[in-house]
């Protein structure tokens, strides 16, 4: 029965490999991608139901018992994230049908997206630190290929930075895992947690924890290590930017969340208060960047950073509520960031430029796009009753309760600036004198962005029905013994 866990990883992988066989038949590739993603999304929804009703599922690959073999763990957090990743990827595929150039679609776009999803789901599900590195490489390899899809000069310049930086952090990751192995003698996360707890995270272990944090912070674009993100995320076509913005940095944040709620939790005053400082700085750097530019896509890309800052507040505060808030915000942000990238991409396509100063009055030619954009701005900035509000409320309230007033203040202040930076797009592009649009807007693309915004609205208005599930996941993270006994007990049987 535990084989249930591996299906969301295998299905996209096999579909991607099969697609390579008929790459010239674009229609069939599209159908296969859509079918696989639809199936996978429904399957992940089933997995969420199953895990929440019957408890986490552990798969010991190859029948090797827990601390020795590689384990895949579908716990409350990972199934929710896998479902969100599948929803976002399905929306992206729908968006790509009519917005991405045929030439690019033919160049392995769909297989690469599915491989990206394979890596992302794998990273969410794995219970083994070295295996996490392997899945990181799977998703990075797909992202390297996606970021240069099209091969323009700008893409080459930005992708080189992106690739070399990620390569360096991957090498650091392997080195850190080997340090950790030499100290603890294991790479299984549950056993690591147990052994680190035994010695109360003494001596070198905190140093190793910080090294791991640097690795994940590079992937998740935290304060001093975010410089590569905005420009390289705007270089590829907007559907790829949306996938990156919604999935890749979130994998980094997920890894920090997992490692620093499970393994390195015994020196909170050192590590987690350090996170709060970084959270504040990341939020400020993000909003300042978002206000500094007139490029629509770049504004949205800079807006990834404050969201990461908010999630770091949750991890830094480290209480059951703040962890639940982090998970809620993570899910909210995956959907809404993708939607905003979609809408900004449609706007840039409609206007024929991504320079805000050259746009005006598109509300006449694209009313649906305009209002959808307005709505998603409100969801992003966190106006009640939408999902951004609930997420920020939980995070900031729990930070206040723990007495972190400065970071709460900075969070509120940066929310205001986030709203200002995105409303600036709405005012600049949709108000004023009407201009002739360059390109009509494909309905399917609009529908996929609309669906994601609708999920954001639902998560806010229907928070009463969504939040209890997330609270279960938050409590689960707050108490690592559940994870440890689930993974290791099955090994003893």
């Amino acid at each position: 029965m535990s084989n249930l866990v591996i299906i969301p990883i295998l299905l996209p992988l096999f579909t991607a490999v099969l697609m390579l066989l008929f790459k010239y038949n674009l229609n069939r590739t599209k159908q296969a991608a859509a079918a696989a993603l639809l199936l996978n999304t429904f399957y992940s929804a089933f997995l969420v139901y199953r895990v929440f009703s019957q408890g986490p599922i552990v798969l010991e690959t190859g029948g090797w018992k827990a601390p020795y073999g590689i384990v895949l763990v579908a716990d409350y957090l990972s199934v929710l994230l896998v479902l969100a990743a599948n929803v976002v990827t399905s929306a992206a595929i729908l968006y790509a049908f009519h917005t991405l150039e045929q030439r690019l679609q033919k160049f392995y776009f769909y297989p690469l997206v599915l491989l990206l999803l394979t890596g992302v789901s794998g990273a969410f599900m794995t219970g083994d630190l070295f295996n996490l590195f392997v899945f990181f490489e799977v998703l990075l390899m797909a992202s390297y290929a996606l970021i240069i899809l099209g091969g323009s000069k700008q893409q080459f310049r930005e992708s080189l930075k992106y690739i070399i930086l990620n390569l360096f952090s991957s090498i650091l990751f392997v080195t850190t895992v080997s340090f950790l192995y030499s100290v603890t003698g294991t790479v299984n996360m549950a056993q690591l947690a147990e052994r680190v707890a035994e010695v109360e995270q003494r001596g070198v272990l905190t140093g190793i924890g910080i090294l791991l944090f640097i690795v994940f912070a590079t992937k998740g674009a935290l304060f001093p290590l975010y410089f590569w993100l905005p420009k390289s995320y705007t270089a590829p076509p907007s559907v790829i930017s949306a996938l990156f913005g919604a999935l890749l940095t979130k994998v980094g944040i997920y890894s920090i969340l997992r490692v620093f709620s499970l393994i390195f939790v015994h020196k909170l005053e050192l590590t987690h208060s350090f996170f709060l400082v970084l959270a504040a700085l990341t939020m400020l750097a993000g909003v300042i960047g978002a206000l500094s530019t007139n490029n629509v896509k770049l504004i949205i890309a800079y807006n990834i950073l404050p969201a990461i800052g908010f999630m770091m507040i949750g991890i830094g505060t480290f209480s059951a509520d703040s962890l639940a808030g982090t998970i809620y915000y993570l899910l909210h942000d995956m959907g809404i960031k993708a939607a905003l990238f979609f809408l900004a991409g449609l706007l840039a396509m409609h206007a024929g430029t991504s320079d805000l100063r050259k746009m005006s009055g598109y509300i006449h030619s694209a009313p649906v796009l305009g209002w959808l954009f307005f709505l998603s701005c409100l969801v992003l900035a966190g106006l009640p009753p939408f999902s951004g509000f609930i997420g920020k409320l939980i995070l900031l309230k729990s930070a206040m309760l723990e007495g972190h007033y400065t970071v709460t203040g900075i969070g509120l202040f940066s929310s205001l600036l986030i709203l200002f930076s995105v409303i600036r797009i709405f005012i600049g592009a949709f108000w004023g004198e009407h201009q002739e649009p360059k390109h009509p807007i494909p309905k399917t693309a609009l529908a996929s962005a609309g669906a994601l915004v609708a999920i954001g609205v639902f998560m806010g208005i229907g928070a009463e029905s969504v939040y209890p599930w997330i609270q279960i996941a938050g409590d689960w993270l707050n108490d690592p013994s559940g994870y440890i006994s689930t993974v290791l007990k099955e090994g003893a049987e």
């Binding site: 070295f130 590195f133 392997v134 490489e137 390899m141 390297y144 290929a145 240069i148 091969g151 323009s152 000069k153 700008q154 080459f156 310049r157 992708s159 080189l160 690739i163 070399i164 390569l167 360096f168 991957s170 090498i171 392997v174 080195t175 895992v177 080997s178 340090f179 192995y181 030499s182 790479v187 490029n295 991504s354 320079d355």
Partner: protein
Amino acid sequence: MEIVMCILAGSLFAAGIYMLLQKQLLRVILGTALLSHGAHLFILTMGKLNRGAPPVLEKAAESYTDPLPQALILTSIVISFGVTSFLLVLAYRAYQTNHTDRMDELKGLEDE
């Protein structure tokens, strides 16, 4: 023996980082290759360098090499091989498109 390996891996890291900071793209790629070699040596050393029986569990063997780091290195080598070859192709294509392989000359190419 571990000390020697550590010094070797350390110097590989130092050389790799020096190369990574160069302006020429090819040197940067060679730098990443050196770095990954350093990391692999580290993994090998961290599993303790034992002589003796092969890494198969037998009751008679008193000392055997740890099989896990070897498995990790093997995986890591395959990955770094793939990434390096991808980077080389990318560097070649970037050279064809931009007519330069120096990172500092890529700055001014705004094509918007």
